[in-house]
């Protein structure tokens, strides 16, 4: 397998171009939840993709921040997918999304207390044990100030990685959006980030929330990556070295060729150390 450079979030409407794509270093990321079925065309499509490209399974529903252990049925389904497609990477979020049998389709925040740290460490360990492999945990986007933090997010993630053995997924758009929304400096945040633990980087576009007159940025994945995010990304790669980098796009999805163009910018930087 050649070294992974820049990848794309896979959209089913791009299946033919994705299968035909022979760009060096390209890889594709999917949400495993969309493929947790018994059979049929979805799984067949994923099998075909896995034969052509390295895959990354990027979960959105494990709820690692819950005060209870991850759902064992969900972990078993994830394990079956991992065994089936042998992904290059598996990742999840530092967030919670389930409560007493209810699923909240979002990535919700919680106070980064020591109690929470111990809980997330245990949940990550259970996940890694169930999958038989290391996962990466992503920094989320923030929209509200949460009281009761005992840890900064960067320290929390570094300690989580140290205690559980997991890696980190650094979403630089999330850093940009959260720094704007909560009023901190994105460069200071990145300076404090444990880059040596980063297994994967995410880049995406954001939207300006109309209802709050621009005071909030939304991690909407429906626009090209912003120049400010590209600039943060270049600084991260310069300091930490190249890492597999994903361009996420979930809304207002352009053609595959347009996404490949955007991806080539990251690919170029990873290969040659400069923004094309």
């Amino acid at each position: 397998m050649s070294t992974l450079t820049a990848g794309l979030g896979f959209k089913p409407q791009h299946i033919d171009e994705a299968l035909a794509c022979a760009e060096p270093g390209v890889w594709l990321e999917v949400h495993p939840e969309n493929y947790m079925v018994d059979g049929g065309p979805r799984l067949a499509m994923l099998d075909a993709l896995a034969q052509h490209h390295p895959l990354s399974l990027h979960g959105v529903s494990l709820s690692l921040g819950s005060p209870v252990a991850p759902d064992t049925r969900h972990l078993a389904r994830l394990r079956r997918l991992v065994d089936r497609v042998q992904p290059a990477m598996v990742s999840e979020h530092l967030a919670w999304s389930s409560w007493e049998g209810r699923y909240l389709p979002d990535l919700l925040p919680f106070p980064r207390s020591t109690e929470a740290l111990l809980r997330v460490v245990e949940n990550v360990q259970r996940t890694q044990d169930a999958l038989g492999r290391r996962i990466a945990v992503e920094n989320p986007s923030h929209y509200v100030v949460v009281e009761g933090h005992e840890w900064s997010e960067t320290d929390f993630l570094a300690e989580l990685a140290r205690r559980s053995g997991c890696g980190l997924l650094l979403d630089i758009n999330n850093v940009h959006v959260s720094a704007h929304n909560l009023g901190y400096d994105s460069r200071e945040y990145l300076d404090a980030f444990a880059l040596h633990e980063v297994m994967e980087i995410h880049l995406a576009g954001y939207a300006v929330d109309e209802s709050t007159s621009g005071s909030l940025l939304i991690d909407s994945h429906d626009a090209p990556v912003d120049d400010a995010v590209w600039s943060l990304y270049a600084a991260v790669i310069e300091r930490g070295g190249p890492r597999p980098t994903l361009i996420e796009r979930d809304g207002d999805v352009p053609s595959f060729a347009t996404l490949l163009d955007e991806r080539s910018r990251a690919h170029h930087l990873l290969r040659h150390g400069e923004v094309a």
């Binding site: 079925v37 059979g39 049929g40 209810r102 925040p109 919680f110 923030h142 929209y143 509200v144 909030l216």
Partner: protein, 250 residues
């Protein structure tokens, strides 16, 4: 209750309470979470019930979906399976009294999704059917293909469903009579076949472990006019059956 659990319980409560005094909920950004969790549920229903959405129009659908999300929020993170109670919800909704078939159209959408994502299975090959002798019929048991789903409606819901899926109006005058169907993904594509009540009875008899001959006799008892040979040929052509395990080949 731990601090983490208590926080999440209060967070969840505040998502559904616009007047909440929970501190994060008093910030403008909290609406991002309210909107995202609600919209994801509505979007999933719109994706899972496209025929209903096409019939009633986007605004009506999303209003009904929002009410459903509130009443029966998602439990399974696999949102393509969200909405198992949505057909019954539509049946019971006051606003659907003049469209009594709407729940059944939703049921057919649901069966389509189930069939689409069911386990892969290999239909009994036609060569095997061709070799079936009369002795074979009385000894062979078949089981339904893993993706086979049966549908019955007292309304012409199959015709309405099909027109809606194809984004067109029902052609000609709609005959107001019961309609039944089988939903099958014999190969990678889901197909909905119109069938009669005798065909469904035959399939159910086979599924319960009867031999083909017993299933035929059972169906004939309740539907003396049923053309069993045509039902059998139709089932074969559509790939509805798999040879049951442990049976010798005919």
């Amino acid at each position: 209750m731990s601090g983490l659990a208590d926080y999440q319980r209060r967070f969840l409560h505040a998502l559904g309470d616009a007047e909440s005094h929970f501190l994060p909920a008093r910030q403008a950004g909290f609406d991002v979470y309210r909107n995202t969790t609600l919209r994801a549920g509505i979007d999933a229903l719109e994706a899972n019930f496209p025929s209903v959405a096409c019939l009633v129009g986007r605004d009506w659908f999303r209003a009904a979906a929002a009410a459903y999300v509130e009443m029966s929020p998602p439990e399974d993170p696999r949102l393509m399976f969200y909405g198992d109670l949505f057909p019954a919800f539509l049946d019971a909704a006051e606003q659907t009294a003049d469209v009594p078939y709407l729940g059944d159209v939703a049921r057919l959408d649901r069966l389509w999704t189930e069939s689409q994502n069911a386990a892969d299975d290999i239909p009994m090959p036609s060569a095997m059917w061709a070799e079936l002798t009369e002795d074979g019929l009385s000894s062979v048991t078949v089981r339904p293909h893993a993706s086979l789903r049966l549908f019955r409606s007292p309304h012409p819901a199959v015709t309405i469903w099909r027109a809606s899926r194809e984004g067109r109006a029902v052609e000609g005058e709609l005959a107001w009579q019961p309609e039944h169907a089988v939903v099958i993904r014999a190969h990678m594509q889901v197909t909905v076949h119109d069938v009669g009540a005798p065909c469904l009875m035959f399939i159910e008899a086979c599924a319960s472990g009867s031999t083909l001959a017993e299933a035929a006799a059972h169906t004939h008892r309740f539907h003396p006019d049923a053309a069993i040979d045509r039902i059998l040929a139709g089932c074969q052509l559509a790939g509805l059956f798999v040879l049951a395990h442990g049976e010798t080949n005919p």
